[in-house]
Symmetry: C2
Amino acid sequence: MAETEVSRAAGVGVATVSRALAPDPHPDVSAAKRERVREAADLLRYRPSGAARALRTGAYHALSIVLPDDAWGWWEPTVRSSFLAAAEEGHHVLVHPIGGRTGGAATAVDSLADVPTDGVLLFGSANDDDVLRASNRLRLPVVTIDDVNENVLFPTLSVDNRAGAQAACEHLIASARRRIVYVGTGSASELFVRERFAGYRDALTAAGLAWDERLVVQSPEAADESIVTLSGVSQLIITGVRFDAVFCEYDLLAAPLLRTLRLAGLRVPEDVAVVGFDDERAAQLLDPQLTTMRQPYGELGHRAVELLLDRIRGNAPTVGRQLIRPTLVQRHSG
Amino acid sequence: MAETEVSRAAGVGVATVSRALAPDPHPDVSAAKRERVREAADLLRYRPSGAARALRTGAYHALSIVLPDDAWGWWEPTVRSSFLAAAEEGHHVLVHPIGGRTGGAATAVDSLADVPTDGVLLFGSANDDDVLRASNRLRLPVVTIDDVNENVLFPTLSVDNRAGAQAACEHLIASARRRIVYVGTGSASELFVRERFAGYRDALTAAGLAWDERLVVQSPEAADESIVTLSGVSQLIITGVRFDAVFCEYDLLAAPLLRTLRLAGLRVPEDVAVVGFDDERAAQLLDPQLTTMRQPYGELGHRAVELLLDRIRGNAPTVGRQLIRPTLVQRHSG
DNA sequence: GTGAAAGCGCTAACAT
DNA sequence: ATGTTAGCGCTTTCAC
């Protein structure tokens, strides 16, 4: 059902149909005619051609989200809020998993050449030269959400991991904990890891607590989610190093950590308070339910879309990082 | 950079450019010319217009996925495998969260009127008259993934919940468990709930185990994920009803269940074996890691896309349900 | 306030 | 094997 047929049925010109049915309806159409057109369109079950529209106007009103392969881990809700934000602005959203392509994100962006899209929201890869090249080649603006890479080549949104970690530890300190263990994977190549560790130190320093190297437990093996316990923590307990709290680099570490503490007969939070970071869905399934820093998922998605639309509208690309603070969610572990 | 300019730069006609650069390149182009065209296109950073292409061919080569609103969906991996399957078939994927629209899925489908898409993959709502109407109105084929509604109006994919539940319980029986508790939410309006319960009974019957009504524990309050323990199970223990295994209607129930058992001093799996259903990501974060029936996420997504493409290509719409069997994943809870 | 007509960039039919 | 041309369905001047 093309516009022509609606115009014929309504007894008006095609231009009037177009004006009456435009996304933001044209003011120069009399209410009467608009009504006539709408009726005819309904009757004919007219469906405007997005293709013709896009061809004519040069804008797809569509955004692309490029996801790494493990993507809908913690940021699923961020993707969701992007959808909502985009919809509010009248844009569709296409989702493209990188999907094991050799070349990673850059290849994925490259393959957007024949995708009807106006811009790209990329998770991670904020420092990827090849993505920048692809972006320039296709004249496709890119915005990233990334807290892994230090140097960024695009407008980038990140969680304020340092402030978040500090807040988490300060919460522990406020409930009279003095010997706080830091549990991490030791993968210092990732920015968020360094930042969270820095936040931990910030909190201890600010509170004037003594620094004890032994309280820093790095468990590279915990990168495997299916791990059962954290040997580093068992070690600590066996060696008799005293501690009354643990800050987990991220929520998923809390699962093996809690098993380890339980095995050792330590009660949470009575003997040891535990705080995580992320507020993944899993956080409240753990036993006890995990107190944690919640990622600002919703805000991340919303602001990313706004940033991207800004760029699409031709505004200056402010390359650089914008930080958003996470918030404490208190549950039962500390 | 339109095709014309590439044709000019390469010194060939537009048709040749079109043929050389088509998604599935036309055979009738000499290798030499194709190379010339490609080079010119690269140089000019030519990007084909998806709009013009779609306008001309009448196909968007795009599918839409309509998602319910729950923040953390169990279907996440299914959506991912749909992306991959669609990409393999040269289709883009648009994602549309229902997003609190009044009217739910039907309104969401309705609003696809001006979305450049060829078909819809809908999670849930397989029995929704209004969706059917919208689908007809827009002449947009719909395929659903749904195991909540009994009557389906579209080609529908479902997990074989009954066979799955039976397999789960048979696994328990095979390890010499004889008194198996069924823990559910009692929301019998949902098909998968009835089916899983039926599968439980099937298994008991097949094994010739006595039926004990007291072993069926319905905990409506567990619909709230943040619940800590299951009072129905505590009750059972207090009352002195003996049992040596629990089948959970779905994985998330295992979190409060395991807390309840632990509180009562029961060891898992020594005293009580526990098996869940879904194999959500959370399953292996529980303590002990949960043995469960894994939803066939990948197959669900792949087959749904194939089904949809089939319909788009004009093949007969086989309204009705297709079942896919889940598989047992043995971990440490039973 | 409304209509007539041009043209967005591509592909397919036809001609060579 | 390649060039020429018409036209997909819309929006946007430009008339009136």
